[in-house]
Symmetry: C2
Subunit: 556 residues, 2 copies
């Protein structure tokens, strides 16, 4: 007897956080569903929880173990939290990766950089073209967001139609890319939609979102009043914004210069794929050096205060031979993502010290969000008119709030965080089980588990400092000389005004002098006791309990 | 010939940052001015720049070296960034510390805790009472802020009157403490004010500030709709807010329980000093456990997401036998200070996972700021009507913006960051020189300089991991066995799939086998070479260059 077939949804990343999107859909008999993956993104580390880490990836083990059941990967748009991990799991790349031209361009670049075969990326045309993948048929429906060619996915299945919103906003004048189209969504909804998986990022924003086009006159007005050089930053991928900024610069009589690798690459990709037209001619940094300040505008990377990006470098001094001066204007045409405030504020103050006027988006004049606010989400729910809605892409509190909104609209919805397998086959979503998920860290050139203890050790050293004790024992297990201590990240002297290492070595020496033969013969015992002594002495002397490494060498 | 006397202002902390306020005023011949200090506060560390540090203090060396010229210390109010360091510089405490009753109570508590003589703190009555201190005569003028008995200081000098605003807002209905009083300020201004030193924190807030009293009905409305337990957090020192919250709890039929040491201590100090009256009777955590959830309200510490405070502990589980459950309400009646977002958001999501409804101040309904916004600053400038204004307490960009506002009002003003000695004797402020300033870290029980390299080493270990190499050499400078490596905070294996320590030890062993007698006899050379090898191998294997400590032991 064959098992009943079912339709499942399983977020492996992005549900319970903003970032590292990775959503699995499956159809078939339980445990033998054919699978597709929507998006494969990264998220970014921070000093508090992941110091030294370069990138954070979703843990894709569940899917890798079942890769023989994977039919295809679909990428909704080219933001790093949707496409950034596409080259990080070669085990998943036996299947085609589908995306629209601009996104495909970015994805191929990543595969090429990683030495992988970029030909697996297949460019698709937008809705109503459909791509077959096992039991699924998938269409890319253009939708407005903050990067070109963003798409929602229509996923037709034997159990009916699904809509995966991806990141979106309702914008009828997005400047670059297709406007939000109610008619298309009504048509898609008309034939009946089983489930909508819906972006939750801005569910706490109570007012309807604003259009990209609103910014143009305000930005131009700002630039008109600028006496010196104008510098503006935004996400390089927000090509519409970059264009708005560049046009405002051009109209106020300035030559445009792009600074920062991501800025140049995004504009190149946009021009190559035809999504960006009428972009002003740009000058190189070398040419820019010869242009009068009041006739120059720089468009730079680093809107989030990233230390190595162009903004931060300009805040510290020269970048590509260019530098900020008193009377210049710097515009953050971007929102600061929570957690990045310190870096952004540092840059603002560095510019202030130079006499540069810094303008940010606080007044709401120079930035609009790329995500649907609460009323816009309700509108999308109504347009698609699905039987059930599963909130995705958001922190837990956002998913939970989104479910409240869904219930206000008298529809079925549940909170499904990463690892929650949801059965969409019934009249309402039901939890079919939980799979283990988590985070993988890209650390230098190595992938490590978030729970491997490696980063925990780094955090401990950062908080507590590190003491290394070296002890040499001879063939008869007698200490050869005194134990040695080296400290890193700790004060040199404490309460007793003697050098901390001397106090430590002295107390360790006394312990060894008293230690019996049995203790001296036992590495574990020695280590344990010496750690205890170091922590106790350090607590007395400097009020801290450091991390301790004991190295016992025995001459054989 | 005696030098001309002058009137100086010298910020040692608080000018160029929000936090650790410490302002020196002096009058007398150049280099022999008699001095007073206004405020002595702390600021708080963060993982990005000061991991493991407990508190940050202004570097008071300049004043300590001149303490024979110090007449007195005046504390404007009891916030940590104004009074928090009062017990940290015993060398400055040969002079009296003047404060109003509530502030004095808090200051005495700090001195007592540090084992210092609390009797140096003298309680003063408010304006028009004046306290003599050398050439200065100082009055505490009640002003509205977000902690009881906040005062601006009127400082009369032989060169005329100064006004030091301290932290303030314009609030005519502050609920606890004295309302802002235009008449008093007009009177103070009438006799002529030479200079106003003025709070800059909210200069970027464009609209007039709102009163504490506006919150009452909104908070009560919120609590009325709550079905389960209500929990609210705010700064414990915001006694007016704590009272508003408690009264709203009482009026909606709830018993009030205070959780967290700071919350209990602040309310005790407020009741003891008479600033807080009609506070509802509170129940202990033990009693609270016996009260039905819908009849209970907790007032808790930890509005900034601090890991050890009551909020964070409730987000992780039980605290004092109490815990949050589905259907409870948690209110952040507070603004999240930039840099604390991650911690606050973590707590919000933990509560969301429990099914607790979290409400924050985003809608502007449940929190008002304690600082004067831009129009309120302009109003204060006009009321005091001084000859010149020096912006204080704020990041560089705030001081700079404040000067713009001052110039709009056609007054003299300059940006004077920490260490800038300003001569106030002339018709306009002029820079008289710069003194060295900085930050001192309280690290465990030790004070260390911010530039000592200790914290830098911790940050490096956190970013790069730490490798310890141990090498033993015999009497003939021949290596005894192989060198040993221990790694902390690094992956165990890398590119070659062999253990990282083995690859390291192998390459170090090969180097030693080839090393000449001269190298083997030279500790510095050995260390340098072995560090180089470790970094190179680690870069090849794991793509990171770790911190390296080399310990060479020579058997003598």
């Amino acid at each position: 007897m064959s098992k009943k077939k079912r339709l499942i949804y399983l977020p492996l990343g992005g549900a319970g956080e903003v970032g590292m999107n990775a959503y699995v859909y499956g159809y078939g008999p339980e445990g033998a569903e054919r699978l597709i993956l929507v998006d494969l993104g990264v998220t970014f580390p921070d000093m508090d929880t992941s110091p030294g880490v370069d990138l954070i990836l979703p843990d894709m083990s569940w899917l890798i173990e079942r890769r023989d059941r994977l039919e295809a990967i679909f990428i909704s748009h080219a933001h790093e939290d949707h496409v950034g991990a596409v080259s990080r799991f070669p085990d998943l790349l036996d299947v085609p990766v589908y995306a629209r031209a601009f996104t495909a361009n970015i994805a191929r670049g990543k595969l090429k950089e990683a030495g992988l075969d970029e030909r697996i990326v297949r460019t698709v045309s937008p809705w109503p073209e459909m791509t077959e993948a096992g039991p699924f048929s998938v269409g890319f429906v253009p939708i407005s967001h903050s990067i070109p060619e963003t798409s929602a996915l229509v996923i037709d299945t034997p159990e009916g139609r699904l809509v995966h919103s991806g990141d979106f906003k309702i914008d009828h004048t997005p400047l670059v890319g297709e406007p939000f189209d109610e008619a298309v969504w009504e048509e898609i909804g008309k034939s009946g939609v089983r489930a909508l998986m819906c972006d939750s990022t801005n569910v706490f924003s109570p007012h309807a979102g604003r259009s990209e086009a609103e910014l143009e006159p305000q930005i131009e007005e700002l630039f008109k009043g600028a006496k010196g050089m104008v510098v503006a930053t935004t996400f390089a991928s927000n090509v519409a914004r970059v264009k708005t900024l560049a046009l405002a610069g051009e109209r106020t009589g300035r030559s445009i210069c792009l600074l920062g690798r991501a800025m140049r690459r995004m504009i190149e990709a946009s021009v190559e794929t035809g999504v960006l037209r009428d972009f002003p001619k740009v000058v190189s940094p070398e040419e820019a050096q010869g242009i009068a300040r009041e006739s120059l505008m720089l468009l730079v990377t680093g809107s989030q205060g990233e230390r190595r990006a162009a903004s931060a470098q300009l805040a510290r001094g020269k970048y590509n031979g260019l530098e900020m001066k008193e009377g210049d204007l710097f515009l953050f045409s971007s929102k600061t993502i929570p957690g990045n405030e310190r870096g952004v504020i540092r840059i603002m103050n560095q510019f202030s010290e130079m006499g540069v006027d810094v303008v940010d988006e606080n007044a709401g004049l120079y930035h609009v969000s790329g995500h649907a606010n609460r009323p816009d989400l309700a509108k999308m729910h109504a347009l698609v008119d699905p039987q059930m809605i599963i909130p995705m892409h958001g922190e837990h509190r956002m998913l939970r709030e989104h479910v409240k909104l869904i219930k206000e609209g008298r529809r079925e919805g549940i909170v499904a965080v990463n690892g929650t397998m949801v059965d969409l086959s019934g009249n309402a979503p039901s939890v079919a089980g939980f799979v283990e998920t988590g985070r993988t860290y890209v650390d230098g050139s190595v992938q490590i588990g978030a729970l491997d203890g490696i980063v925990r050790d780094r955090i401990r050293m950062a908080l507590n400092g590190h003491v290394v004790v070296t002890l040499i024992l001879d063939e008869a297990n007698e200490p050869l000389g005194e134990p040695w201590c080296e400290v890193m990240g700790l004060p040199e002297t404490g309460r007793s005004r003697a050098a901390l290492v001397e106090v430590l070595e002295n107390d360790l020496g006394q312990f060894l002098a008293r230690a019996g033969a049995k203790t001296l013969a036992d590495d574990d015992k020695l280590e344990q006791e010496m750690k205890r002594i170091v922590r106790k002495v350090a607590q007395d002397e400097i009020g801290k309990k450091p991390e301790v490494t004991v190295i016992t060498s025995r001459l054989a």
